[in-house]
Symmetry: C2
């Protein structure tokens, strides 16, 4: 299987040109942030998705990554999957249990999302990967016709499961739902992700919290490499249009990180993730690690920073060469009354919003940020109304996507430094400016 | 104030004609069940609604009711309000705390709703009627540019508040939120509803649970009549385009009901509600009471059955001359995993749906009923995901609106009896038919 032949690098002289999409009849990722957008995609990409009882449509477009522009270390690119493109730098909304909490798929798409992430750990336990496969795969199950990335389940085993035991063969744990004993090996993690039908699968890895001792970090890194090798072998049975990413581990130790990266690159993956960050270390350690690891990864493959982060984290990581992100912050914080805006975070629980007629951001492209007063959002949050969570989740995902789109545009025209400075100034300004 | 001059009765020979709307540039209530629909309305009816900091637009269109057709006792009509029309028979979704739980206003409109109900009791306690008025009124606050009916607060005082004391002057109670002592008189109930900006306000009444003794029923009925008189006087200060409905009480006692209806009609209201039903009595008692009271109400005024009910209740009450309904059943049961469909209720919690690839109703106009398998809905409900509540609320409100639209059409063409029989057959069929 020609795993390394999938990516293509645009010649340097084309770097500043407007990106071209491979599939002419796909909706442009930057312009399709509408209900109509997802309907068009639904018909163009996934004509079978509405018919129950059929197998998943056979898709033959191969996974690929094109680097379209760069500006310093920041990169503008385009992922192509059998379920449509993903403009990078990309933020992937988290749809843990086959749903981005509080939003129907059309609403997720309307925020500007190309790709969503789903959690293997949760779905293998409920409703089960075999069940989802029997129902036509995860895209049909959750009515999301665009690209899906699944994690391997490893991270949640470490953070959620009880009585876990990590061995060379894999990890054994007790389900947090019913206490059942479950085994997860590199091979089973790939099998599950294949059953789900993920466009991008992740190798099983072991992710430690920081701080951790060097021997512990080295042990987990070496185990993750062994699992990477086995994941890659297991993935040879996957349909050819799907992709597998390896995961760089090694904690905050530069030597371990470089050893991990070099070994993974030697194996060859469609893309490379940096795992084991944003797990307790200071931001500067995270950014230093990214700056060290990213240049060791091939320029023609996407680089995915797992589980990160704040708007500032995203901009700083893009500045260091990262292409993809996922994080629960915009969705989880939205459910808890916090809005992310161009002018920094706004805690709608705060009583000072109770009589404020201003919307969160009149200049936003997101109706939820324009159509409702802070007073109304405060009321919904205080009254524990679902609509508060829904609107703030929408606002936050839209702001994250707006930030990514802004970075993509800035990189394409060579103004990323200015964009970075302006974003930083906006966050510092705060939302307390007079009406 | 010419309270009785608002309604007009269409001549009998026109009863079977297609309804004509009064405002040519309003979106047709039966055809506007789309996101586009609410935008058009939003611009046509409420151009100021998106601008913060302005007072509520002055609206001058008077409240009116036109009877457009009848078929047996069933009536097809049209309410006109300053915030757009309401086709009757109408089902009003319940937006207790200034939100129909789980749905943004565009999504409520997309189910086909013309009018929503909001609860005075909840809003007077949080965020407060004066606060909502200062923010431009309830329509702007909840971003709902169409008609709003508010109840008087009386029913919730009886069912939710602690330490309530009913006296001639009004009711004193402790807030269920913070224990504060609050007074609600007929005059204050009207003042609150005026501050909210309700298109249709309700008189304060006392609603008893059934069974209740005849002396108790008579006392509450007479008190409600005295409060009706005071409510009407207080309402003279309201802007002229708004409407006030009186409420017939009297429990399951026909004599008391008739006395209540006659006295209210003598006072004169824009519309008449039947309260104090669906409060513990058998369905046949409710239907018998409706059949007795409805003919005692003026034909040229809308008749509103408060807090009712199941799909069957709605059809049977329309058959007895009711024009308007509100009920928490479609929203509350949706949040608890129950779907209302043409083929009866479906409990998505049930394990038999776990592998069922069929949507709830392939023939529905509601995407939530078509685009998601029962297996997915079951998964969402079992996983306690917000999206389960959101989709089932959408399915249920859409089905209720579809049922109302079906009744309206059948009454207009004189086939209500057939519609009623077919609906009943559908519910009896169940959803277990082979795929």
């Amino acid at each position: 299987m020609p795993l390394l032949a999938a990516g293509t690098v645009a010649p340097a002289k084309h770097l500043r040109q407007k990106p071209k999409l491979r599939s002419g009849n796909l909706v442009r990722p930057d312009s399709a942030s509408t209900i109509e957008g997802i309907s068009a995609i639904s018909q163009a990409v996934d004509p079978q998705s509405r018919k129950a009882g059929e197998g998943e449509a056979q898709r033959t477009a191969p996974f690929s990554f094109r680097l379209l522009a760069s500006d310093g270390h920041a990169r503008r690119g385009e992922i192509a999957t059998a379920h449509g493109p993903g403009a990078t730098p990309a933020f992937m909304a988290v749809g843990t249990q086959a749903t981005v909490k509080g939003l129907a798929s059309e609403a997720v798409r309307a925020t500007g999302a190309d790709i969503v992430l789903a959690n293997t750990y949760h779905l293998m336990l409920r409703p089960g990967a075999e069940r989802i496969a029997a129902l036509g795969g995860l895209h049909r199950f959750m009515h999301w016709p665009r690209a899906i990335l699944t994690d391997s389940g490893g991270f949640q085993v470490m953070s959620l499961a009880e009585l876990r035991k990590v061995e060379d063969k894999g990890v054994t744990f007790r389900s947090h739902l019913d206490g059942a004993t479950v085994e997860l090996s590199p091979e089973r993690a790939i099998e599950i992700q294949n059953l789900l039908g993920a466009d991008i699968a992740m190798q099983l890895d072991e992710c430690l919290e920081l701080p951790a001792s060097r021997p512990e970090l080295e042990r987990a890194m070496r185990l993750s490499l062994a699992w990477a090798e086995r994941s890659k072998r297991a993935f040879e049975a996957a349909p050819p249009q799907r992709a597998l990413f390896g995961i760089v581990q090694g904690g905050d130790d530069p030597q371990l990180r470089m050893a991990s990266a070099r070994s993974l690159v030697a194996m060859g993956f469609h893309g490379y993730a940096i795992g084991g960050l944003a797990v307790g270390e200071p931001q500067e350690v995270m950014l230093r690690t990214i700056a060290e690891v990213a240049p060791a990864l091939p320029a023609d493959r996407p680089r995915y920073l797992m589980g990160v982060g704040t708007p500032e984290d995203l901009v700083e990581a893009v500045a260091r060469g990262i292409d993809m992100f996922d994080c629960v912050l915009p969705t989880r914080n939205g459910r808890h009354g916090l809005a992310f805006t161009r002018f920094g975070p706004v805690n709608l629980k705060n009583a000072r919003h109770a009589g404020d007629p201003r919307p969160l951001d009149e200049g936003s492209a997101c109706p939820a940020a324009r159509d409702y007063s802070r007073a109304y959002l405060h009321h919904l949050v205080k009254a524990n109304e679902m609509l508060g969570a829904i609107l703030l989740t929408t606002v936050n995902l839209s702001y994250y996507q707006e930030l990514m789109a802004g970075m993509r545009e800035a990189i394409a025209v060579g103004t990323f430094a200015q964009f970075r400075a302006a974003a930083s100034e906006g966050w510092a300004r705060g939302d307390l400016a007079p009406v």
